[in-house]
Amino acid sequence: MSVGIVMLVHTALGRAEEVARHWSAAGCPLVIHADVSVPIKTFKAFQKSLEDLPDIRFSKRHRCEWGTWGLVAASQCAAEMMLADFPQVRHVYLASGSCLPLRPVTELIDYLAARPQTDFIESATTADVPWTIGGLDAERFTLRFPFSWRRQRNLFDRYVALQRALRIKRRIPGGMVPHMGSQWWCLTRQTLSAILSDPARATYDRYFSKVWIPDESYFQTLARQYSRQIESRSLTLSKFDYQGKPHIFYDDHLQLLRRSDCFVARKIWPQASRLYDAFLTDEAGAMKRTEPNPAKIDRIFSKAVERRTRGRPGLYMQSRFPVETRENGLTCAKYSVFQGFSALFENFEPWLARATSARVHGHLFAPERADFSEGETVINGALSDSAALRDYNPHAFLANLIWNTRGERQCFQFGPRDNQEINWDIAKDPNAQISVISGAWAVPLFQSNSNFSDIRSEAARLQQIESTHLETLRSSWTKARVRVWTMAEFIEAPMEPLQTIIDEIGPGQPQRGLSEVPKMADLTGFGQFLQNLKNQGMHPYLMGNFPVMHDLHEAPTSARKPYLVR
């Protein structure tokens, strides 16, 4: 009979009763503390329901509000009563009414009997752990906290601010080093009685009663003064979310809890009947032991915190709609934007699709419709090609497209004819890889069969749009991977940039050279065409320098770099 249980209860007394009976059945003496907020009638009924148990006491009732001294005072009283009334107790285990023993109590008793001098209490210095709530860590111990964080947040915050402004600092008594840790501990009689009968206890109590969340630091700090052997971990499995609130266990956690290596879990949802039925049985009815795998529990709960604080990058949905700069990723995957390539090369899109494993779309932001790959009118996610729908919210269109096709690299064509509203979104997106052959929009005009005056005004319009776009791409806000060539530059040596772009797209590609090159449009007379525009007073400058007589129609195949061929 080495373990005594101190149990703090405040709600779900029915469950607390069941758990108390379970402890008692294994012969553990109990001291129960019920919160003052439990109505006297309910408390009396609770007391009566446990009358038949042999070693049970009820300690003086305190008000136990989260983060306040009351919890420590309650633990102190109950622990004193335990030590005084049950002299055979060697270890005192602090538990709550919503704790559930995961392993047979006899196992716990044996475990502790084998470690008679060990105190199990999680205890770490503030500098070493990242547990901060409300932006307070070391200040927990150097400021005063007379107000409730839950009920009087405004006063709480103001008083903290005031103390910071006045640079008030409390002195920590006795040269102690403050430690923090889980409030659920298991201490030996020696350590606990030393803490409770310390001559300086009044000083310590006075100090800690104004510390914030003293139930996580009082015993944790003082145990360091007296303990012979501290094992800094809690025997109670308790997971906290990002607000410092314990995660709750439900019926569907049954298999998970069976794999815990802890003796007790908290906090259990009071109506999780399957859990209570499964764990509150005698040894005969207990389930077969499974190999402990606490890492799995850790993973599930840390993932939940991550989802709540960082979310899934690139996802915009009903409960995740980040303000600008807080997206941590405007889109969810890398994608490539090509400007001018499909104008300059006759078969650029099918070629790119063959050369990489990516999905290659046409002009997604074209004025007529979103030109999806293979002429589809609807693609992944039931995203429609309607231009009106797309232009209603171009940002959502792009984010949806990339999200819906996750796992498959997307490429699409862009140009000055397209909806330019999306430009900043793409430019600011680190996932975007933008390649521009500036001035290539002139090629379709050159090949077209329109009146020259129309061509001239269209050329002027497109040049202006592209020039604005290029300014965007060169701005200091741009986070995308941007490459810009003038058309003249590009056709001088087209293979090198093409190879670079393709290498960047596809790690899935075999490291071979380009076995096939896209076919460049026939540019005979293009120099003269530009000269004609100039003669009409419209100066096309984005395509670089094209001499009038320059014969551009050299076969691009001859430009293949020898080192690219295996």
Binding site: Y250, R308, M317, S319, A388, L389, N393, F397
Partner: protein, 336 residues
Amino acid sequence: MSIVQSYRMRLRRRHAKARSLRKGLSLRPVADRTAQIKPGGVLLFSTLRNEHVRLPYFLDYYRNMGIDHFLIVDNDSTDGSGDYLIEQPDVSLWHTSASYKNARFGVDWLNGLQAKYGHDHWTLVVDPDELFVYPFCDTRPIRALTDWLDGSNVRSFGAMLLDMYPKGRLDAVPYRRGQDPIEIASWFDPGNYLIQKNRKFGNLWIQGGPRGRVFFPDTPIKAPALNKIPLVKWNRRYAYVSSTHMLLPRGLNLVYDEWGGESASGVLLHTKFLDTFTQKAEEEMERKQHYRASLEYKAYMENMSDQPELWCKWSEKYINWRQLEILGLMSKGNWA
């Protein structure tokens, strides 16, 4: 937010409360079992008209979820909905023959009932064709969710409307009483939703889905709103402003995270598109009691006559809430 603005919002809320009192006068209690309501019970509020065929499944679905009491307004049904509901032991029923439109599509009636019976309860406001889905709904009753929300100091919970539709013509498979409508309307659009923030009320405005894709591809701004906040820890000072899309005070509309994380959220499976739909659309066109003079129904009727299929090859077949979570339509947030 200036004082003037917030005062305006207060006036607006007061106005909504006053309206609900006035419009509530037309409600006549038919079966008042509200004495059964216990503190902490989760209550469901609904208003309906001629939904008899859907009711058995609807009530069972929410009973299994752990709803403790149903408070329903019958807007002059002629198909026996009222008689059916009177006999249900956990339903309190009110009748009205007043105009649905003038009661702001039922909102005024329910605001009044919620203030009277829903104070300090978690209240779920859904239509008979909406099935609420939340994280872990297959293993945890709704009480687990509301307890967790209470513990996290969260007062409202968002659930986007997800339009469900069958493969093939809407009228190909008739819906039988008591049948799970998802067996027929088992498809949905997984990734074509458009979101904007409503700066005035602070809620998100979500559009798109099959209705955006098929009925409003040229005028997307007219597509119906899909954002909803159906589950609220009600206080008699609260008021729904426009359907369950938004509430006052505005803090209740912040069911989403703006700093990159994900709040927990659910989905309302909207099973409007069954064989009953065509008949309903015809009737509603005549009554003109729906939003924007039944513009939605008009668009449906025009499209429905020549292109009755909402299904496309990228439609997704519904499996469970986890599928919706993976697709990014809802989120567990930090509930695990």
